[in-house]
């Protein structure tokens, strides 16, 4: 590669990184300054934590955090159970109509979740799960992407390992839990990352299916907090936003090596 294209690559990468990180940097900047200092970019102006105090007192954030945390946990557990069983069935079990059923699952990948909002709403109401955290998480548990991912991971497990476990007297469920699941660990980790960040940030569906502070996740709480009728104060909204993305950001910074490795390993297969 010539030196020109190499430096062009570097400049491009840096430019993209700046564009990508700018909103986050601005939110952090605005959150620690008064509104007028923030919007006028007075770089020498004093820092303050008042915005965080005001924002924290303005809404039941503790409850929202807890709700989001419970939501992503429930969704992840449900997804792990469903995608493990379905992925194993599609990868290693022979049954009539298997290919057709898998095709239907794959078709689900092409449908935007937003298209199904009305139908999901009706279904969740019928199940009596309206305005509950379980109701928010339920429609996402049978994840087509997850089933596909697990199927690929299980397919890459050498069949001799399955046979060796069978000769040792392992039951089918035993083989799944003792052989397939541990070997698919990188895939589980990568999938967990995608799932948690998606559902941490999900907004439209929780907005529709929740209507009380007891069940609302962070994103919905944040939007109500920042709604025009409450008066738009960019610093306070930024402070609230920084608060709500902080746990995810910190977790990613701590585990980033494992995450990247998990993705690489899951991708190689």
């Amino acid at each position: 590669m010539s030196r020109f294209t190499k430096s062009f690559d570097t400049i491009g990468a840096v430019a993209l990184a700046i564009v990508w990180i700018a909103p986050l940097v601005f939110a952090v900047w605005a959150a620690v300054h008064t509104t007028s200092d923030a919007v006028n970019f007075r770089l020498t102006s004093p820092w303050t934590l008042d915005n965080f105090r005001t924002a924290w007192d303005g809404a039941p954030w503790g409850k929202y955090f807890l709700n989001t945390f419970i939501l992503v946990t429930i969704v992840l557990i449900g997804q792990f159970i469903v995608t493990t069983l379905a992925g194993y069935a599609f990868a290693q079990v022979q049954f009539p109509g298997k290919d057709f059923a898998f095709l239907l699952v794959l078709l689900q990948l092409f449908i935007l979740p937003e298209v199904l909002i009305v139908e999901n709403y009706a279904m969740v109401s019928r199940l009596g799960l309206f305005d509950s955290i379980l109701g928010v998480g339920m429609p996402y548990m049978a994840s087509a992407f997850g089933i596909f991912l697990m199927r690929q991971a299980f397919k890459s497990v050498p069949i001799e390992l399955d046979e060796a476990a069978r000769i040792e007297g392992c039951s089918r469920l035993g083989i799944l839990l003792k052989v397939y699941v541990p070997l698919a660990k990188p895939t589980y980790l990568a999938y967990a990352l995608v799932s948690v960040s998606t559902h941490w940030n999900n907004f439209l569906w929780p907005l529709i299916v929740t209507n009380s502070p007891d069940t609302r996740p962070l994103t919905v709480g944040l939007s109500i907090f920042g709604a025009p009728e409450n008066g738009v104060d960019i610093s306070i909204i930024s402070a609230a936003t920084v608060m709500s993305v902080a746990p995810l950001l910190i977790a990613f910074l701590i585990f980033q090596r494992q995450f990247v490795q998990a993705f690489l390993r899951a991708g190689i297969k």
Partner: protein, 348 residues
């Protein structure tokens, strides 16, 4: 009549109409070392998998230790298996791999650790308990697979080409280890291999297969000195038996094939031999030299000479052999016993 420890009775298995194995009938005595030998695709691995319960036969009956296990699951057959790829669980340590089956069967912890120690001691793996398979050499992995197979104390052990991933030197060493292990533990081993040296050197009984059918069952000596078909003659022995068309020799019918071993042929002076050939190659192996010869109506002609011998490639030589050293095969490739040629058995 004493009942055999393992009996395969007329076993057949087809894959989508294609032949897998056909009419496999085999008795295995307790404590016997049986080698299933044959080229790739001959059905030897399929036979082993049918015996293991990893496949279900389309027809026939399998009896292990007096119980009909034809349709039984692998777990219920009380056997252990060593896979070609070793099939070690990469996420488990050596100790966990060896104890895997005992944990599944809920063997008490104390007994488990005792047996683990024993198995690792026998296989020389003590001190490597906490390593993962990925941190072991090929030979060590092979021994972990062996340890896992013997730790359960099953009387029947199946091995699917367990040495094919090792280098030649290690292979010879492990061959001896397996043989010794079998003697010490008194277990019955069914061993699949495509390497005739392995089968001949280790087995009490060799089962030679081709295209899903057993060609010959017998001791290594029987297969070597009394091959039932031309295929057996060409497969067993290094170098394999030379096959000569009947019409090239006096006193034989045109449609017969005559087989003769390299060590039974002698080079003679021109005019005194039974066959005139051309030298194609010289293979010096230290104690002996194999001279490859060419004749228009013969296959695999080789003469074994002691020590070092120099031959000019392309030069003409004549060879001779005694009548009693000849093996005669009919037009269908099966061995025939002509009246005028005493068989090796009668000779003994």
């Amino acid at each position: 009549m004493t009942r055999a420890f393992v009996t395969l009775d007329n076993i057949g298995k087809r894959w989508n109409g294609q032949l897998g194995v056909e009419g496999i009938t085999l008795d295995i005595e307790e404590g016997e070392f049986v080698a299933l030998l044959g080229p790739s695709g001959c059905g030897k691995s399929t036979t082993l998998r049918l015996l293991a319960g990893l496949e279900v036969p389309d027809e026939g009956q399998i009896i292990i230790d007096g119980t009909d296990v034809t349709g039984a699951s692998a777990a219920k057959r009380n056997l252990s298996m060593v896979f070609q790829s070793y099939a070690l669980f990469p996420h488990l340590s050596v100790a966990e791999n060896v104890m895997f089956g005992m944990k599944v069967r809920r063997v008490p912890k104390k007994e488990r650790l005792e047996k683990l120690h024993n198995a690792l001691d026998i296989t020389g793996l003590l001190g490597l308990e906490d390593r993962k398979p990925g941190e072991l050499s090929g030979g060590q992995r092979q021994r972990v697979a062996l340890a896992r197979a013997i730790v359960a104390g099953q009387k029947l052990c199946l091995m699917d080409e367990p040495l094919s991933n090792l280098d030649a030197k290690l292979r010879a060493a492990v061959r001896k280890d397996i043989k010794k292990l079998q003697n010490d533990l008194g277990i019955t081993i069914v061993y699949v291999t495509h390497d005739q040296t392995e089968a001949m050197s280790m087995a009490d009984k060799v089962v030679l297969m081709k295209d899903g059918v057993i060609q010959q069952t017998g001791t290594p000596e029987q297969l070597y000195s009394e091959p039932a078909t031309t295929f057996v003659a060409e497969f067993v022995g290094a170098p394999p038996m030379a096959l000569i068309e009947g019409r090239a020799l006096k006193g034989f019918k045109d449609d017969q094939t005559i087989g003769v071993r390299a060590e039974r042929m002698q080079l003679v002076q021109a005019g005194q031999g039974r066959l005139a050939c051309t030298v194609t190659d010289c293979e010096f192996l230290g104690a002996e030299t194999f001279i490859g010869l060419e004749h228009p109506s013969a296959n695999g002609l080789t003469v074994k000479l002691d020590g070092k011998a120099e031959m000019t490639i392309g030069s003409g030589v004549e060879i001779t052999f005694a009548d009693q050293d000849l093996h005669v095969f009919g037009p269908d490739g099966r061995r025939v016993q002509p009246e005028n040629i005493p068989t090796v058995l009668e000779e003994e």
